[in-house]
């Protein structure tokens, strides 16, 4: 699963386009372990005007990217996330791994706007390191 890192974006949008990130936010936020396009549409419609076909196209793209898996349920598909939000965010760091000593994506990351890390971001990085330590210990 490889993605193009998007410069100047934060969170999910580093790796996903805006609507893709919004849909995954809904899926993870509402704990939708198995859902149809209509389920996501119903939630998104409360927030904005959006067409069924737009959601369907985006969900299909997420499936093609390997973020969602699906199984047929009669005439429709039921989708489910392959990764939890935490696993997905962690895999962002992992993706940098292979590119860490090479690759344009890592250069894109270095070309992001210069900003001093906040205490929260440093906490997140420390937690990431701690988690990796625990993984290696077990």
């Amino acid at each position: 699963m490889t993605f193009r890192l998007r410069s100047g974006k934060k969170g999910l949008e580093i790796r996903l386009h805006d609507l893709e990130a919004t849909i995954m936010d809904v899926v993870w936020g509402k704990h939708l372990s198995s859902f149809a396009v209509g389920d996501v549409l119903a939630i998104l419609e409360k927030q904005r005007d959006i067409a069924y076909t737009t959601v369907m196209t985006t969900v299909t793209r997420l499936y093609e990217k390997g973020i969602l898996e699906r199984e047929r349920d009669g005439k429709r598909y039921l989708y489910s996330p392959k990764l939890t939000r935490e696993e997905f965010m962690e895999s962002t760091a992992r993706e940098v791994l292979d590119e860490a000593v090479g690759g344009h994506q890592a250069m894109v990351m270095l070309a992001e706007k210069v900003s001093e890390a906040s205490a929260g971001e440093l906490d997140d990085l420390e937690a990431l390191i701690q988690k990796r330590r625990e993984e290696l210990d077990t």
Partner: protein, 340 residues
């Protein structure tokens, strides 16, 4: 024609036109190198450094040398002889070189002022920390190269970094070291050992000076310089791990050094978010898979830079100074044109 025309207008032309033009050429080269997806951010670090610094240093070196050459021999100063009839010596190129040197020195003062030295401590806490460092370095053959190169400072907020141009030393902040385990401190010293070996404080100073003397071209090069410096830090992380440092303790030390209160010079603690994420991501990767020296580093920076500098200095004496003559006549003709 007044004698100050060439020294003043010529220097202005160099600062306003010549150096920015060289910066533009260097930028084109840097963009091409950074687009190389095979090597990535750590690719061609030395070549990128030569482009960043050479675009300012080499033209200035050539112009200074050419100016002095014309002033001392007066044989190749065709423009000067043409305008001043029977003058046996022509001092205008010499004054031009002097004026250019003044501009270079003046623009360097700000950079030099920022490089204040740290105070070495000899308190009880400092001695205790030195004993701890000695114990760590003596048990590791790689860190043994830092013997007598590690000093301690009580400077408020200083984390850990390398200072000193020709004989760099690693400064360890007592407060910062107290927050690190031995494993973290050893890994951090491994990172600094690469800075010491490569004379990075000198490299960084030359880079800052090269940008400072090109005030109208530096905006073209600064983003590349920031990326180069970040990549250089990442390179030191990788070298440290290759030579035996533990990646996760090093990552931990880097994050701790970036906490508010720590101030870095050439240090572990780059606080920029993107750079931190990149370096931590890389070290997390190294915890799973040992790194290798995969990236083409280009020729060593210092020998190449020295040879190029030597060529720039000698060239006017060997091949003539036609470009300086053109600059000389151009400056005087420009003044004549605007004077009318």
């Amino acid at each position: 024609m007044i004698e100050a025309t060439f020294p003043l207008l010529g220097t202005a032309f160099v600062v306003l036109i010549v150096l920015p033009a060289f910066a533009l050429l260097a930028k084109a080269g840097l963009v091409m190198l950074e687009r190389d997806e095979v090597g990535g951010p750590l690719h061609g670090l030395n070549l990128r450094y030569v482009l960043l610094t050479g675009s300012s240093v080499l033209p200035i070196a050539w112009l200074l040398s050419a100016g002095l050459h014309q002033a001392e021999t007066a044989k190749s100063a065709l423009a000067c002889l043409f305008d001043h009839d029977t003058a046996e010596l022509c001092f205008e190129p010499g004054f031009f070189a002097l004026m250019l040197a003044v501009v270079v020195v003046a623009s360097s003062i700000g950079v030099m002022r920022k490089h204040r030295g740290l105070r070495i401590s000899s308190t009880d806490a400092a001695r205790t920390l030195l004993r701890r460092v000695a114990r760590i370095t003596s048990s590791d053959p790689v860190l043994a190269s830092l013997r007598d190169r590690v000093v301690v400072t009580d400077d408020d907020g200083f984390a850990l970094g390398t200072q000193g141009l020709l004989r760099p030393r690693v400064f360890v902040g007592t407060a910062f070291a107290a927050r690190l385990s031995d494993e973290m401190l050893a890994s951090a010293l491994g990172h600094e050992a690469e800075h010491v070996r490569a004379l990075d404080p000198l490299r960084y100073l030359i880079l800052q000076l090269a940008l400072a003397v090109n005030p109208f071209g530096r905006f073209l090069l600064e983003p590349h310089a920031v990326r180069w410096q970040a990549a250089r830090e990442a390179h030191c992380d990788r070298e440290a791990v290759i030579l035996g440092a533990a990646p996760l303790p090093l990552a931990d030390a880097i994050v701790r050094a970036a906490r508010p209160g720590a101030r870095e010079v050439v240090a572990l603690g780059a606080r920029d978010t993107a750079v931190l994420k990149f370096r931590i991501g890389m070290l997390l990767a190294f915890s799973e898979r040992a790194p290798a020296r995969c990236c083409h580093q280009g020729p060593s920076a210092f020998p190449v830079a020295f040879v190029l500098l030597l060529i720039a200095l000698l060239l006017p004496h060997q091949t003539g100074t036609a470009a300086l003559d053109a600059l000389h006549t151009g400056a005087e003709h420009a003044l004549t044109y605007f004077w009318r």
